[in-house]
């Protein structure tokens, strides 16, 4: 506590000594500067994505497959049609696998497991899953489905790797929403004679649905941007493919392979594909946020 100069003065906020005021100002300025600093990369990334990405967008960019003619000076490198469709197919299957399982586990945790030691163990392992680097999911699927079965890469194997990645995100977010549902709602249904499964399917899950959709969409958005789990599971190819049992192209893998090219046109295609991917992910995020805003439980 600093002492004040004269005892006759009133205690006002101006009594803070100059050195303390200076320190306060400097600290606040530095905090503000750091906040601005944090936003600079975002601005630069968005700017460059638009600058480079829009330049390579054209109708044929979205309607042709990459040709694989990436040698220096070759003019016809093609677009990213197979990559866009591949990403949609792989992520759709991954969602179809992970959403029911994820919500099922979350329902179990909240409705049955609660805080038993087994439920806490499951929570702990879900946390573990969250921390596992995404490339290890790719390795896992590789060990089990490619080494294990002696077969080759396939789109559905990529989906399985992504669904492992999505599971913990879905479980946690669904659990949070389910916990927000008032116990009185369940109890009233039970008191009316409804069996547990009906309480879960007709009361708990529908009430929590909008909130769970948000978490699911965020998980889908995250999976759509992942490269590493797809490298050794879905691999990549040039052609558009609607058979998830075959090699399958995807946007992140396409970008990754284009980045290393010495040809400017191919690198530009990577920028165009990156802009496409970011727009897709941002749309999912936006929808998730809108739904989250609409449904405020509790």
């Amino acid at each position: 506590m600093s002492s004040h100069g004269s005892s006759t003065q009133l205690l006002t906020r101006f009594d803070v000594s100059p050195s303390r005021r200076r320190k306060d100002r400097i600290a606040r300025a530095m905090i503000l500067a750091a906040t601005v600093l944090a936003l600079i990369p975002l601005a630069l990334i968005v700017y460059y994505l638009l600058l480079k990405g829009l330049g390579s967008w054209s109708p044929s960019f979205f309607t042709t497959d990459p040709t694989g003619n990436t040698f220096f000076g070759s003019s016809n490198i093609g677009g990213i049609k197979s990559a866009i469709l591949g990403t949609i197919e792989i992520v759709a299957l991954a969602s179809a696998i992970s959403i029911p399982i994820g919500i099922g586990v979350a329902v179990w945790l909240v409705e049955y497991g609660r805080s038993s030691w087994f439920a806490n163990t499951v929570r702990f392992f879900v946390d573990v899953l969250t921390g596992v680097p995404s490339i290890l999911f790719g390795l896992f699927i590789y060990i089990v489905l490619i080494v294990g079965t002696g077969s080759s890469y396939a789109g559905y194997k990529g989906s399985l790797a992504l669904s492992l990645l999505m599971l913990p995100v879905i479980i946690r977010s669904a659990e949070v929403v389910l916990l927000l549902i008032p116990g009185a709602l369940r109890e009233s249904a039970l008191a009316l004679g409804a069996p547990r499964w009906r309480v879960i399917f007709s009361i708990v899950v529908p009430t929590a649905l909008p909130g769970m959709v948000t978490g699911v969409l965020l998980a889908v958005a995250r999976a759509a941007g992942e490269t590493a789990p797809l490298l050794f599971t879905a691999a990549s190819t040039h052609n558009t493919n609607f058979n998830l049992g075959q090699f399958m192209n995807s946007l992140p893998v396409q970008i990754y392979s284009d980045v290393t090219s010495p040809t400017t046109a191919v690198v530009n295609r990577a920028w165009g594909a990156a802009l496409t991917l970011v727009v897709m992910i941002l749309l999912l995020n936006l929808i998730a946020r809108l739904i989250a805003r609409r449904s405020r439980l509790a």
Binding site: A119, D127, V128, S173
Partner: protein, 339 residues
């Protein structure tokens, strides 16, 4: 509801018939199995990974593999030290750069910024988490790294008297630039957790500090930051876990040179990058060595994340020693997801 059933008279009218109770049981045990499957999956993964990595460990020894300084594919010599060091240097750099900025952002958002700006600011920082890793790599290698290279060279020349930092030739892909990109990538998660923890600081504490005549900054320093310390540390550890496991951006930016870089601005390699880069054409012992690298990575992230979860969990339940996960503790975990 009762109808005229229960002829035997043993079952009360309030009880459901055994048949009607079947779906209940099925659901309960079905969901329990599902939950158990998750445990089984992780244990199974760990065992298979160890199995696949065994040949490499058998040849080099566990310590020899982890700390051997020689990654030579053609000579079938696999020591993962250059990879381990690359992973650690870049992740620690990411923490050193990213955490102060992230915490400052959180402080600004919760304590200093006008209320109207708070949620746009939060959304903008979280947008950083929506950018895919491969896009960070693309942007880093074609924009950030070339733009910063002269500045890095200048710093390296000025600091040439400090070993491991200055003196050498700055290449475009290097440890520093990788750490910088990782710092940007972990910023949203560290910031989100710090912000979440800061909102739990009791208003009483802050008002007490202000009431005693503290300036805003003094209030932040004596009331907010100490209260949040373990939460912030936990958030930073989760960020560290992210940085250690980050693959594609690192593979693009670190240079993929399988040897120890002699200084901060040299090319190197990381555990995750070596897998992404070499797995496609690896055979035999090489492939086993890559699985072993994956195992080292797995164990490393498990340790870091385990400590992090513990700290965050404790921070979010100040008085809590109970085993139950309170609803208040869970949103944090959701935030930890970096959504």
């Amino acid at each position: 509801m009762e109808a005229a059933s229960a002829p035997s008279g043993e079952r009360s009218i309030l009880e459901r018939s055994p048949l009607a109770r079947l779906p209940d049981r099925a659901l309960k045990y079905g969901l329990t199995t599902l939950a158990a499957l998750i445990l089984a999956l992780i244990v199974f993964f760990f065992i298979r990974l160890v199995g696949e990595a065994r040949p490499a460990f058998a040849k080099e020894g566990v310590l020899g593999f982890t700390f051997g300084n020689d990654w030579n594919v053609s000579a079938e010599h696999f020591g993962a030290l250059p990879l381990l060091v690359g992973t650690l240097i870049t992740s620690v750099l990411a923490l050193l750069i990213g955490v102060p900025v992230a915490v400052a952002t959180a402080v600004y958002a919760t304590e200093l910024c006008p209320l109207r700006l708070r949620s746009p600011l939060t959304v903008l920082v979280e947008l950083l988490a929506a950018v895919p890793s491969v896009v960070y790599g693309l942007w880093g290698i074609f924009f950030l790294a070339p733009k910063l290279q002269p500045a890095e060279q200048w710093v390296a020349d000025r600091l040439s008297f400090i070993p491991f930092i200055g003196g050498g030739l700055v290449t475009i892909p290097n440890y520093f630039i990788t750490g910088l990109i990782l710092a940007i990538m972990i910023l949203p998660i560290v910031s989100a957790i710090s912000r979440e923890v800061m909102t739990t600081v009791p208003a009483d504490h802050k008002e007490a500090a202000l009431g005693l005549g503290a300036t805003r900054w003094e209030m932040i320093r004596i009331a907010v930051l100490p209260y949040c310390r373990s939460g912030i540390v936990g958030g930073a550890m989760l960020g560290l876990g992210r940085a250690i496991g980050e693959t594609i951006a690192v593979t693009i930016l670190i240079g993929d040179a399988p040897k120890l870089g002699h200084h901060l601005f040299a090319q190197g390699y990381s555990l995750a990058a070596v897998i992404a880069n070499e797995f496609g054409e690896a055979q035999g012992l090489h492939r086993s060595a890559l699985f072993a690298a994956g195992l080292v990575l797995f164990v490393l992230t498990l340790l870091v994340n385990g400590v992090a979860r513990l700290l965050v969990l404790r921070a979010s339940r100040p008085g809590g020693s109970g085993k139950d996960l309170t609803p208040a503790g869970r949103p944090l975990a959701e935030v930890a997801e970096g959504a």
